[in-house]
């Protein structure tokens, strides 16, 4: 997917024009949750699971359904590290940056992965294949250093092991 196709633009009049999103799909998710108290996080998780990110155009739709302001919904999306406002790469690689992993070389491991992918934490490879992210603890501290690739947890990770995992993921898709 071309990344600029999902970026909001300014109209000549100054208003924001959002790229189109699947209104029906968002409506179905809202339908499922709208009567549950405090359902904004589950709604955002479901939208992101279905669409890969929370499309900016959906903010108004969510706000109307929950009888909240767009600012409130936007504020929640921007507060939490998990929610994306644009799609990630095909694969998401989260490398733990917290103390337990630091104690067994996660800084060097991260630097090695950054070199391998040619991008920094928080960035996506030029071919759009892998998004590299920092994560602060995966709860795998007895088997540090740890990383998570597309929701799968790996422990005792070396640079060689990370390289193998990334190569396998790239081949698979």
């Amino acid at each position: 997917m071309k990344r600029d196709s999902v970026v909001s633009r300014r109209s000549p009049g100054g208003g924001l024009i959002h790229p189109p999103h699947d209104v029906e799909q968002v409506a179905r998710i809202l339908e499922r949750w709208v009567s549950t108290p405090g359902s904004l996080l589950p709604i955002l998780h479901d939208i992101q699971a279905a669409m890969g990110h929370v499309p900016p155009g959906a903010v108004g739709q969510i706000a109307r359904a929950l009888n909240q302001s767009r600012a409130e919904v936007h504020g929640v999306i921007s507060f939490y590290h998990d929610f994306r406002r644009s799609p990630a790469g095909l694969h998401v690689l989260k490398v733990c940056q917290a103390e337990s992993c630091q104690a067994v070389g996660s800084r060097a491991l991260t630097a090695g992965i950054e070199r391998l992918l040619g991008c920094k934490l928080g960035e996506t490879t030029a071919d759009g294949a892998v998004t590299l992210e920092a994560v602060y603890c995966l709860g795998n501290c007895a088997c540090s250093p740890a990383l998570m690739l597309d929701g799968r947890l790996h422990g005792l990770v070396t640079e060689a092991k990370a390289e193998r995992l990334i190569a396998t993921a790239r081949k698979g898709a």
Partner: protein
């Protein structure tokens, strides 16, 4: 008769290839025409032996580990189903000293049962606590928990019984039980192990809390980094509902209780109880002023029991064996057992449940076997990113709430991370401030701005820019953050910084004797 073979499905075991090992065992058994019963259990918590394969024998379970999937044919050839010799053979698992020397109450079933088998759960003492609680008056249940001396295992160490009394005494149309499963401290994984490996014990503890305090609905707020725990809890909830232990009129007792799982979204601050409540209500995880306490005015404005996973998971055994049996463990005002998690640069990392009072040295040297790198231990942060770094001279400190507090540290959630002598403590101190800046909710200035200024001051000291003045300024800033932040994030983020400065001044280019005398 077919032999029972157990392979863990704990996510740490999976991260080392437990699924591949289980598949290889099933394939090899089929190829050889051997009938086996393959059970996916929880983990014993001996992670240096994972993937750990256990075979049921007349003399109990015998272990093989760590096993790589490629070794499985060789294990069959060595006759491991009959306990045959192999380089990975460990003998009877429960005789392994690392495990035999523990006092497992909360983690009694770890590595033994299938996490989602209610028959397994009941066969190993499950549901006895809830049955007894339902036969008691709610106020007696509260007093039993109070008498056990149980204090919150999430980090704040507040007496659980007092919290429950407050909620029980509150008058309100609805009350809630909210479980804090936002286990964000690095070096901790005991909540994760409970949720993945023994989810029924947490749900049983919640139901007991509901009965004791008059709450009928629970929320479990699980961090999004724990997808396996979310799946296990949802599956366990379905099993308990089906069996009549959750839902309306539990086992004909007239008491109704149900719960739902809520998933966080990558915000460390949501482990702070009021921030977690905001998040469950669907808002930014910005902390609330206290008072009012959540026990008076919590979730959706109603009285709410907010407890950590391990606290609630310790309640069933207290109700089952009685308050005194639990309080007989431990010392002083730290009663019962603490699930300690060994992490970082340590040879035998894993979960050690011991009575309070065990020393850091016993944990790191006897259980942990020293560093994985073989180099000397230099620094040990206890209690996560808000806990102090201890240097090697303090390893004889007993793990108890008051002893660590005397050294400006905390037990926290029981995580111990080991660093060897290659660590740069100035960088660790800088990281502590940086982490606070990334995760601050932004509500109060000492935390939001102080953490950034703190990071900058450390960077200046390290660069050698006016180090004495910047050191004094940093200590002053730490004092302000500690005393004026609204919650523990800003209030305790200075702990690792102050301890790093005190024990490792050389790493900052400072000399020990020149510590400014004006502060703290």
């Amino acid at each position: 008769m077919s032999v029972t073979v157990c392979v863990p499905r704990d996510s740490a075991a999976l991260s080392l290839g437990a699924d591949e090992v289980a598949t290889a065992i099933a394939l090899e058994a089929a190829k050889r025409g051997v009938a086996i019963r393959l059970v996916r259990t929880s983990s014993r918590g001996m992670f240096w032996l994972e993937p750990l394969v256990e075979v049921q024998s007349a003399a109990g379970r015998v272990g093989y580990g760590p096993v790589d999937a490629s070794e499985v044919p060789a294990l069959f050839a060595a006759g491991f189903l009959q306990g045959g010799a192999h380089t990975s053979a460990l003998g009877p698992v429960e005789a392994i000293p690392w495990l035999a020397r523990q006092e497992r109450l909360t983690f009694a079933r770890a590595g033994i049962t299938d996490p989602l088998s209610i028959a397994d759960y009941e066969a190993h003492g499950g549901l006895r606590g809830l049955k007894r609680a339902l036969s008691m008056a709610p106020s007696d249940v509260v007093e039993e928990v109070f008498a056990s001396g149980l204090r919150g295992r999430g980090g704040a160490a507040f007496p659980t019984g007092i919290k429950w009394r407050t909620v029980a005494a509150a008058r309100a149309p609805r009350k809630y039980v909210a479980v804090n499963a936002d286990e964000g401290d690095s070096g901790t994984y005991s909540d994760r192990m409970i949720m993945e490996g023994d989810p029924f014990v947490l749900l049983e503890g919640m139901a007991i809390a509901g009965h004791a305090t008059g709450a009928s609905h629970g929320y479990i707020y699980v961090r999004s980094e724990y997808p396996f725990a979310v799946a296990a809890l949802n599956a366990a909830l379905a099993v308990l509902r089906e069996a009549g232990w959750y839902g309306p009129n539990i086992q004909g007792s007239g008491f109704s209780f149900d719960a739902e799982v809520r998933v966080g979204a990558g915000a460390y601050i949501c482990g702070e109880e009021t921030s977690m409540l905001e998040s469950i209500e669907g808002r930014r995880g910005v902390i609330r002023y206290k008072p009012p306490l959540p026990a008076i005015k919590g979730l959706f404005g109603m009285p709410t029991v907010v407890n950590n996973v391990v606290s609630l998971a310790s309640v069933p055994v207290i109700l089952d064996k009685g308050a005194q049996a639990y309080a007989d463990f431990g010392l002083g005002r730290s009663r019962g057992t603490l699930p300690i998690q060994l992490a970082g640069n340590v040879r035998r990392a894993g979960l050690v449940e011991k009575a309070f009072g065990v020393t850091l040295r016993e944990l790191i040297e006897d259980f942990g076997g020293g560093t994985r790198s073989g180099r000397p231990v230099r620094a040990v942060p206890v209690g996560g990113p808000l806990g102090a770094y201890f240097d090697a001279s303090l390893l004889d400190l007993p793990l108890d709430y008051e002893a660590l507090a005397e050294h400006k540290g905390m037990v926290g959630h029981g995580g111990i991370v080991v660093f060897d002598d290659t660590v740069d403590m100035a960088e660790q101190a800088r990281y502590a401030m940086e982490f606070c800046a990334i995760e601050s909710c932004g509500k109060c200035t000492p935390c939001r701005v102080g953490s950034i200024r703190g990071r900058e001051l450390i960077e200046r000291i390290v660069r050698g820019e006016n180090p004495q003045a910047n050191h004094a300024q940093l200590l002053k800033l730490c004092d302000v953050m500690e005393n004026t932040s609204l919650c523990a994030l800003g209030g305790m983020a200075p702990y690792p910084v102050i301890s790093a400065l005190r024990y490792f001044p050389g790493d900052f280019g400072l000399e020990q004797s020149k510590e400014p005398s004006c502060v703290v």
